[in-house]
């Protein structure tokens, strides 16, 4: 079949470079989210499988590259079955962790630790399997994507990198990302076209180093300062003699006091800077990732802007503050009015307090519900849109004669595990 002839192609798609375009109108998506979140509450969460499926159908169908849009072919029932299988796998592990921790003393605590390590590995395994599920449910121009490779290998690689990230205070993160993306993308296929990742860890490190310095340099400096200036021998002696029980013991140690306030200051700075700089971090990583994408001879590049990512998060902040303010105001006024009406009808104090508690709980749920919808619309979908719209593709003519691969579609166990372990994310 090598001399398979392909009829003359319409020239529309073959103009280089080709651009990505997100065509989804926001209002229907917003309506879908509000209705879906409502059904999710009504069904105690079970509807999430249908909502996720609808969200993905919308997101995929409106992602257009070279004039053709993608299609998501997964179904909610597959996700539900995957979740049930995941429960069957996880329940024995959770029960073992609980039993081991309660009954066996130090050996049990060790067993519990082993259990958490297993859950950690399983989480990464599930992520890789879930990725395979999503790829095999993605159709573009009548051809499926798929993924090969061992999920266990990916999981161990990811865990080892995680350990390295902790020990290097985050400096290994760019290399971990590059290594894991290489692993994933070189096992990603569009028909017979193999993916690859060309991003380099060193480049990401250089781009993000300033963030690392802003975040962690004060912490490192203050810890060094504390080690240097405080007389730790006398403090250790104080603990041995029991003198450290007295709060005055630390209060009278001036060097310890100043070192402690410096460390607390650094922790406060770290938290503040982490929140403020997170969009910058995300923008740098996403852009670097998009620029590293390759499929066969197709090269992706992106000019995604940091300020558009900040825009998404600022909108989120603004909407959340507005909804919280309006919600609290509404709740307060309603509560006062209802309590006045009920008091005049002679209800007991106890019953009123219980009603107030229930009302407060419902209000809290309603607020969590609204914030979740705002996040999905203002951050979730918008970031995807920013990414798709920023993409420029060269060598797209290679897309014209990709041969489909008859690989069987994979099951949704990975999706189920990701869901059950609460480790979601795209």
């Amino acid at each position: 079949m090598d001399d398979l002839t392909i009829p003359a192609l319409p020239a529309a798609s073959a103009v280089d470079p080709v651009h990505g375009r997100f065509t989804g109108p926001m209002p229907p998506f917003r309506r879908m989210m509000i209705r879906g979140a409502f059904l999710k509450v009504l069904t105690l969460g079970i509807y999430r499988f249908w909502l996720i499926t609808d969200m993905r159908r919308f997101q995929w169908a409106n992602t257009e590259i070279g004039g053709e849009s993608a299609e998501y072919t997964g179904t909610a029932i597959e996700l539900l079955i995957g979740f049930l299988i995941a429960i069957a796998i996880l329940v024995p592990i959770f029960v073992l962790i609980a039993l081991a921790g309660l009954s066996l003393g130090p050996a049990g605590q060790f067993a519990g630790l082993v259990g958490y390590v297993i859950l950690g590995v399983l989480g990464q395994y599930a992520y890789f399997r879930a990725r395979r599920y999503r790829l095999t449910r993605t159709v573009f121009r009548g051809v499926r994507l798929h993924q090969t490779g061992s999920a266990w290998r990916y999981a161990f690689r990811s865990i080892l990198w995680g350990i390295a990230i902790v020990f290097t205070l985050g400096l290994a993160y760019p290399f971990a990302q590059a290594s894991l993306e290489r692993y994933k993308l070189s096992r990603t296929w569009y028909g017979d076209l193999q993916g690859a990742f060309a991003g380099s860890g060193a480049v990401l490190l250089l781009r993000g180093l300033f963030l690392w310095l802003i975040l962690l340099a004060p912490a490192v400096a203050t810890i060094a300062y504390a080690i240097e200036t405080v007389d730790w021998h006398s403090i250790a002696a104080g603990f041995r003699s029991g003198a450290a029980r007295d709060p005055g013991f630390f209060r009278s140690n001036a060097a310890f006091q100043s070192a402690a306030s410096a460390v607390f200051g650094a922790i406060g700075w770290f938290t503040f800077a982490a929140v403020v700089l997170y969009p910058a971090f995300q923008a740098i990583v996403l852009r670097w990732w998009l620029n590293g994408l390759r499929i066969g001879s197709i090269v992706v590049s992106s000019r995604m802007r940091m300020r558009s990512v900040y825009g998404a998060y600022l909108r989120y902040l603004g909407w959340t503050m507005l909804v919280t303010f309006v919600g609290l105001l509404t709740f307060g006024v309603t509560a006062v009015v209802i309590s006045l009406i009920l008091k005049s009808s002679g209800i007991s104090e106890d019953a009123l307090a219980v009603l107030a508690a229930i009302g407060g709980f419902v209000a809290y749920l309603a607020l969590a519900f609204c914030v979740w919808i705002i996040y999905q619309v203002v951050v979730g979908l918008r970031l995807w849109r920013i990414m798709v719209d920023s993409v420029e593709i060269t060598g797209f003519e290679a897309i014209e004669n990709v041969r489909a691969d008859a690989t069987a579609a994979s099951s949704a166990i990975g999706e189920g595990l990701v869901d059950a372990l609460g480790a979601g994310g795209m």
């Binding site: 392909i6 009829p7 003359a8 192609l9 798609s13 065509t23 059904l39 509450v41 069904t43 105690l44 969460g45 079970i46 509807y47 999430r48 249908w50 909502l51 499926t53 609808d54 159908r57 919308f58 169908a61 409106n62 053709e68 299609e71 072919t73 179904t75 429960i87 996880l90 329940v91 959770f94 309660l102 009954s103 066996l104 003393g105 049990g108 159709v139 573009f140 121009r141 009548g142 051809v143 499926r144 569009y190 028909g191 003699s241 007295d246 104090e349 219980v354 709980f361 809290y364 749920l365 969590a368 519900f369 979740w372 897309i399 014209e400 004669n401 990709v402 041969r403 489909a404 869901d419």
Partner: protein, 386 residues
């Protein structure tokens, strides 16, 4: 009605895009290439209308290994084709019908989970608790004891967490042990009792699996007579004898499984799970508290003490119930409990100790004084208690 028109075809074997001519027949759709050759013929019954951007009708075979696709942009032709395929085969968004079915089945599942939580789990833990070997419960006690100390010990500056360890407290400790031993001998518990006094100002006491009882310093301060203290310890021994701690542990594990694993996920789900557990568990414990009261009253009576003393100290501690106590407090209201205890105690004997009049059959006055000061002199560095 339009039955001819242009479309874009992907055959599913390669990614190549072809402009095609469509012809809508009576039962099937014919897809022809630019030269008029037949590329595919699809029966309407096999087709599904798939998710696509606005303004595009995308159809494909509902079943089959290769995702061959046909896209129609001409509105009239798209409408005609969609009508032939029928609304049943639309897989673009979840239909209202499916939404209703999911809601219905989820509510059925919620009812079933609630029934399991209210009837199934208490019954199950009732059955399982007696099957747990005492040795396992004791080991559980060791591990829980560590967690209790970790959780409650805030490092008081007045002395070690456990009272009665220092030299000056030896007399108080001896008096406490005497009281506990008298009760334990009369009770003949299946596993050894380990009672401790802990340095916390709250008037309270509790028991955990493995026969471990903790009496708070605040309770000893509030107790006017040895009988009152004996009543509270005996009440906690009732929990030990009935293995209530083990049962509660099994119940909370079961509840967190049912509500946490199967239903939790949504933003506020965690809070909902905790709220449900608290309310349900407090309703479990009302009955067991009443049972422990009865056990405590009988045990104190058995060793010659005044069973009514338990009711008296409960009322003194409770004061006036606050707003949430009716639902959330795990102990039923003190007045009701005292009344139930008095009913068990029977008519007050003509002679013998009354409320507020120390019963010196339990402890000598000097011993009671020492016991009241069991936490008084803890400032010297002493071991944490073993």
């Amino acid at each position: 009605m339009t039955t001819f028109g242009p479309g874009t075809f992907f055959d599913g074997a390669t990614s190549s895009r072809r402009q095609v001519a469509l012809e809508l027949g009576a039962e099937s759709l014919q897809i022809r290439g630019t030269a008029g050759e037949l590329l595919a013929e699809w029966a309407y019954a096999d087709l599904a209308s798939l998710s696509a951007p606005e303004g595009v009708l995308r159809v494909g075979l509902a079943r089959g290994p290769m995702p061959a696709r046909l896209e129609v942009r001409d509105p009239a032709l798209a409408a005609a084709l969609e009508q032939r395929i029928g609304a049943r085969a639309r897989v673009r968004v979840t239909s209202r019908r499916t939404q209703l079915r999911v809601v219905g089945w989820s509510l059925a599942a919620a009812v079933s989970a609630a029934l399991v939580a209210i009837f199934g789990i208490p019954a199950l833990s009732e059955e399982i608790a007696p099957l747990v070997p005492l040795s396992l419960e004791q080991r559980l006690g060791v591990s829980l004891d560590r967690q209790v100390r970790l959780f409650l010990d805030r490092g008081s500056k007045n002395g070690p967490f456990e009272c009665g360890g220092g030299q000056a407290d030896a007399a108080g400790r001896a008096a406490f042990d005497k009281l506990v031993n008298r009760l334990a001998t009369a009770a003949a518990l299946p596993l050894p009792l380990r009672a401790s006094v802990i340095r916390m100002p709250v008037p309270n006491a509790f028991a955990i699996p493995g026969g471990r009882v903790y009496v708070f310093q605040g309770l000893i301060d509030k107790a006017n007579t040895p009988d009152e203290l004996a009543g509270v310890i005996a009440h906690e021994m009732g929990h030990v004898a009935h293995r209530d701690g083990l049962r509660a542990l099994l119940q909370s594990a079961g509840l967190s499984f049912v509500f946490g694993m199967l239903l939790g996920d949504f933003g506020g789900g965690g809070a909902a799970v905790i709220a449900v557990r608290t309310v349900l568990q407090s309703s479990y414990s009302r009955e067991t508290e009443a049972q422990a009261d009865a056990y405590g009253a009988r045990l104190v009576a058995k060793i010659g003490g005044d069973p009514r003393a338990l009711g008296a100290i409960l009322i003194r501690i409770a004061g006036t119930p606050g707003a949430f106590t009716k639902i959330l407090l795990s102990h039923p209201e003190a007045q009701d409990r005292a009344a139930a205890i008095n009913a068990i105690a029977g008519p007050r004997p003509a002679t013998g100790g009354g409320i507020g009049k120390p019963m010196f059959g339990m402890l000598e006055p000097a011993e009671w004084d020492a016991l009241k000061r069991i936490c008084a002199s803890g400032t010297q560095p002493a071991g944490r208690g073993s």
